[in-house]
Symmetry: C2
Subunit: 246 residues, 2 copies
DNA sequence: TACGCAATGCGTAGCCCATACGCAAACTGG
DNA sequence: CCAGTTTGCGTATGGGCTACGCATTGCGTA
C-alpha cells in the first residue's frame, strides 16, 4: 500500500481520483476494493457503525483480517471509501433549472433518503468532503440554484444550510426509529412528561402538554422533515427576491 | 453502581435527576463525579474525543482506571454526564420576549460558541436529549418564541431547524480550524481547485473559481455563520407573519 | 519450459482499550 | 473496639487495530 507518496493525502483520495499505477504482473486478486467497501457498507447498514470492525468485515468476506490491508490503508481510509460510495449519484437536472425550489427540494429529499438508509454516514462525516461521490452531490445542489440571481457565495451558503438541516433531521429520525421495538416516540414523550417540571422548564412542559412529542395521528415520518424544509426554503426565497431587486 | 434498577434508564439520568441515595457511612471519597466529568471534558477539549480513554482519564486524575467505575457505570454513561455538563446554562430571557429574532439569535450564537469550545459534543450527540443540561437549552429556545403566534408544534420545528444549523455550521467550522497549523482553509481551497474538473463538476468549479472557499479578506470566521442564520430566520419570519394573519 | 519478479493472502505478535470480579483499605456509628 | 459500609484498585479477559514478514500465486521473458 505505501507505494507512492504523491502527497500528504489519505491515500484513499489518491485512489478515488485515479492516481493509481497500472500494475498487471502479480497474483490474481481474490479480493477487490469494491467488494470490501460494499461489504463494509452492508455491515454498517445492518448492524450499525459500532459493529464494523476489520475482523468482522473479514469474516463476512471469508478472508483473513490482515488481507484487507492490501487494499485499504487502515480503518480510516476504509471509511473514506464508504463515504464516497454509499450516497450513489445525485439527482439529475440541467445547469440552470427554472424551478430552483423544486430541484433543491428533490435534492434534499433524496439525500434524506440516503441518510435514512445509511445512518452511519452522519456519524462519520467530520472533515469537509474531498471525494468524488460527495462533491457530485455538492455540485448538484449548486446547480439547482443556477437559475437564481444569487452570487456564488450566497449559493454555497444556501446549500450548506439545506445540507445541515437534512443531516440533523436524518439523525433525529434515525435515532427515534432505531431504538425500541414498538412505540418509539411514545417512550420519549412519556419520559419527557415525567421529567419536564413546569417550574424549571416552563416552555418545554407546555410543549409536551400540547403533544408535540406524541406521534401525529395522520402523518408519515417525513412530514416533519418537509415542514422544516419549507420554512427553510421560504427564507431562501426571501434572499432570492432581495437579490433580484438589486 | 448497580444499586437500584428504578427503570431501564442509563443510570446517568437517575443521578442527574436526583434519584440518588443519601449514603454517608463509608470511606471518604478521594474522587468525585464532578471531578471526573470535568477532567473528561478538559481532556476531550484538549486532545479530541478519540484521545478520551478510561486509562488516560485516570492518569490525568491520578488514580487507577478501575476507580472511575465506582462513580460512572461505563464510558457511555460518562459521555452522558459530559453532554449534560459541558454546555453550561443557556442565555436568560423572559417567558415571552418581545424580540423573538434577537433572542433566538443570541441563543444560536451562544450555542455556536459552546460547540466551538467543545467540538466533541457534535460527534457525541446521537439520541434525543433527556438530561437537565440539554433540556434547559431546549426550553430556552422555545421561550424565545413565546411571544409569537406560532403553535407549539411549529415552535418546536423552528427550534430544531436552528439547532441543526448551529450544529452543522459548528462542525464545519471546527473541522476547518482544527486540522493544519496555518492556512487551514487555504489547503482545502487549493485541493478543490485541483480536483474540481469543470466538465465533471461545473457548478463547483465555478464556485471555486469565484473564491468561495478562499478565506474572506475582511471577515471573521463567524460571518458565514451569521449569514446563514439570517437566511434561516427570514424563513421563520415568513411563517410568523403567515400565522399572525390567520 | 524454467526462472525470476511482482503482487497478493495471511499468520504472528504487540499494543491499547473497556470492563467483570473480588479483595484490601478506610471511615463511622454503636 | 467492632461491624458494617463504601471506596480504591490489582488482576484478568476479550476484543480491537495494525506493523512486519513470509508463503503463495501468476505473468513475462529467456
Amino acid at each position: 500500500m505505501p507505494d507512492d507518496n504523491e502527497d500528504e493525502l489519505p491515500h484513499a483520495l489518491n485512489v478515488l481520483w485515479g492516481r493509481t499505477k497500472p500494475k498487471g504482473r502479480g497474483r490474481t486478486p481474490a479480493l477487490s476494493l469494491e467488494r470490501i467497501v460494499a461489504a463494509a457498507i452492508a455491515l454498517a447498514d445492518e448492524e450499525g457503525l459500532a459493529a464494523l470492525s476489520m475482523a468482522r468485515l473479514a469474516e463476512r468476506l471469508g478472508c483473513a483480517p490482515m488481507s484487507l490491508y492490501r487494499h485499504v490503508d487502515g480503518k480510516d481510509d476504509l471509511q473514506l471509501f464508504m463515504l464516497d460510495a454509499a450516497p450513489g449519484p445525485p439527482p439529475e437536472f440541467g445547469a440552470a433549472p427554472a424551478d430552483w425550489r423544486g430541484s433543491l427540494t428533490r435534492w434534499a429529499v433524496e439525500l434524506f433518503g440516503v441518510y435514512l438508509r445509511h445512518p452511519w454516514i452522519v456519524q462519520l462525516v467530520s472533515s469537509p468532503p474531498m471525494d468524488p461521490g460527495q462533491l457530485a452531490w455538492l455540485d448538484a445542489a449548486l446547480r439547482a440554484l443556477g437559475g437564481t440571481p444569487l452570487g456564488w457565495r450566497a449559493r454555497f451558503s444556501v446549500v450548506m444550510l439545506v445540507l445541515h438541516y437534512v443531516r440533523g433531521a436524518a439523525q433525529l429520525s434515525s435515532s427515534k426509529t432505531a431504538e425500541p421495538e414498538e412505540g418509539s416516540d411514545g417512550a420519549y414523550a412519556a419520559l419527557l412528561t415525567e421529567l419536564a417540571d413546569p417550574d424549571r422548564f416552563p416552555a418545554l412542559a407546555r410543549a409536551v402538554e400540547a403533544g408535540v412529542f406524541a406521534p401525529q395521528p395522520g402523518a408519515g415520518p417525513d412530514d416533519d422533515f418537509h415542514a422544516g424544509l419549507d420554512h427553510l426554503l421560504d427564507g431562501v426565497e426571501v434572499a432570492i427576491e432581495r437579490a433580484a431587486r438589486a
